[in-house]
Symmetry: C2
Subunit: 331 residues, 2 copies
């Protein structure tokens, strides 16, 4: 793509992200009781990429609406996302989130449970502000996203306890846990923007598939990323005993000694840091890293192709760029 165009995309995204940030900062500023809303304000202040709000806004734009039609919905999806983070962090007993203490560590579990519940309630409140006439369908999409996110989280927890998880089951889980949220963001953006059924459908397909691509890429980066740039320990998923796309695929294909080595991670619910290289060698030798890349390209291609069904040419290019930017990190 033309560097000038890319620059304009970056600047547009940066501008819209700032607007969303300002809106988010206002959500909890004056609400009472402070005992309920201060923890949520603390969480929302801590940044994040705000990818989901941007998907809402760009989807509204992609069907010909102004960004301003969907700012409240953009805030809503970020609140919903943070609701899942707070409760997931309790369940995972995580200490840190975006470099700061998680809510249940800074306060306590009770405060974090209630803050999460409240974030969800305010998410609906904000979403409703941007619904006019078509509230039922928009709310149904949002609610369906929420239902499936809970199901995905439950499956994820279930898989932690299982020895054998098939790749199909894994893909179903990440579809629910990660991809449905991106799909929902694109869907409500398109609906609020007044898109046709075909346009809404195209953007849902786009969101779902970049979501899956994004998750597989996350799994891959855990192994191939540059540690300094990645900001996390390489092989962290293996150390924590997570059954990722890479692991499941490798475990399905491995034989003999390789299979025994891989089974150790399941048995011990994780590996030692010094073993990561051994696992990476197995992944590479079995062609798993290439297969993961192929899958990521596969899903991002589906996403980009679905954009052809949109009529507004100019406004779909930025979504195409986003899809390929995600993939760029592994090229």
């Amino acid at each position: 793509m033309n560097p000038t165009v890319i620059k304009s995309y970056r600047s547009l995204i940066s501008k819209q992200r700032k607007i969303v940030e300002q809106r988010i900062r206002k959500v909890f500023a004056k609400r009472k009781p402070r005992s309920l809303y201060e923890p949520s304000a603390y969480l929302l202040e801590s940044g994040g990429k705000r990818l989901r709000p941007l998907l809402v806004l760009l989807s509204a734009k992609a069907v010909g609406a102004k960004f301003s039609t969907a700012y409240n919905a953009a805030v809503a999806v970020e609140l919903l996302h943070n609701f899942t983070l707070v409760h997931d962090d309790i369940m995972d007993n995580a200490d840190k989130r975006r470099g700061r203490s998680t809510l249940h560590k800074k306060y306590d579990v009770n405060t974090a449970i209630l803050a999460g519940d409240s974030l969800l309630s305010i998410a609906y409140e904000y979403l409703l502000k941007d619904c006019n006439g078509n509230a039922k369908n928009i709310l149904a999409s949002f609610t369906n996203g929420l239902v499936e996110v809970c199901e995905g989280q439950s499956l994820d927890k279930e898989f932690e306890l299982r020895n054998n998880v098939s790749l199909n089951k894994y893909l179903d889980m990440i579809r629910k846990k990660t991809a449905v949220m991106a799909e929902m963001c694109c869907s409500i953006g398109a609906q609020i923007g007044g898109g046709t059924k075909a346009e809404i459908n195209a953007l849902e397909t786009y969101g779902r598939n970049i979501g899956i691509a994004f998750q597989i890429q996350d799994d891959l980066l855990d192994i191939i990323a540059d540690e300094a740039e990645f900001g996390k320990v390489v092989g962290g998923d293996l150390i924590e005993g997570k059954k990722t796309f890479l692991f499941i695929k490798a475990f399905e294909q491995a034989k003999g000694e390789d299979k025994k080595v891989l089974f150790e991670m399941i048995l011990n619910k994780g590996i030692k840091r010094h073993q990561v290289d051994q696992y990476k060698e197995i992944y590479t030798r079995l062609g798993i890293l290439d297969e993961a890349k192929k899958s990521i390209f596969h899903y991002s291609d589906i996403a980009v192709n679905s954009l052809k069904r949109l009529s507004k040419n100019e406004d779909r290019e930025i979504l195409k760029w986003i899809a390929y930017s995600l993939v760029d990190r592994i090229r």
Copy 2:
């Protein structure tokens, strides 16, 4: 009231409750994953008075609609109510609920958090089924109920840590924690039933005020109830150190030795069982029990009077009967 009429009310309520029970049983029967939905099914099976679904149905009827217009909404409010129970039980570290193990005791805290979240998501799903055309307002009422319930719960937790809570603050807390839910049930019932603004408003007033009356009565029954019939330890609130309507009012009015005795409950975060009679004697001597009764009658009268604004005479009488039945337990 005429005994034959009362009998017909009881039979109508019993019939509608059965229908609601059947609907509730179906909610989780076929959903997957079972790891997510079995805990919710267990909770919902354990009964309860289903008062909130009945308020939805009777409010729809009171504006001239059929019960069948609001069965999904009735299910939705019961799911919402159970969402609050699951999360509250975690926060209160409660072992038992309706005579059975609480969800976080039978399973674990993580399962209970997620089951609660999921109950809320399915509540929205069911509510949406009964929204036609007026989805935005119905969802806004439901959402507002949820927002305020979270605020009420936060205030309740805050009050546990405070030495001094005024009666006004207490009433504000129970309005949010208990009454808003009854108000919301009546509101969405009336809206789904196609009520006019005045009818919706009248039923909201009814719900809110029976909610407050109900909570104060709950506080009162803790002291004056017959232990065998009440099914709980008399004075349980005092033993647990709860700042109820009775306690706050007594503490505001007490002087000298009485004030010192009452302050002990705050200081020690509760009293011993053998002290309950001493507290009851103080309450009685200060006229607190009578004042509580007066308040209960006051709020139930407001509730009943608001029903005069409804046009359908026949269908408002049952709501009047419900309001007075509640109060009857303390007469």
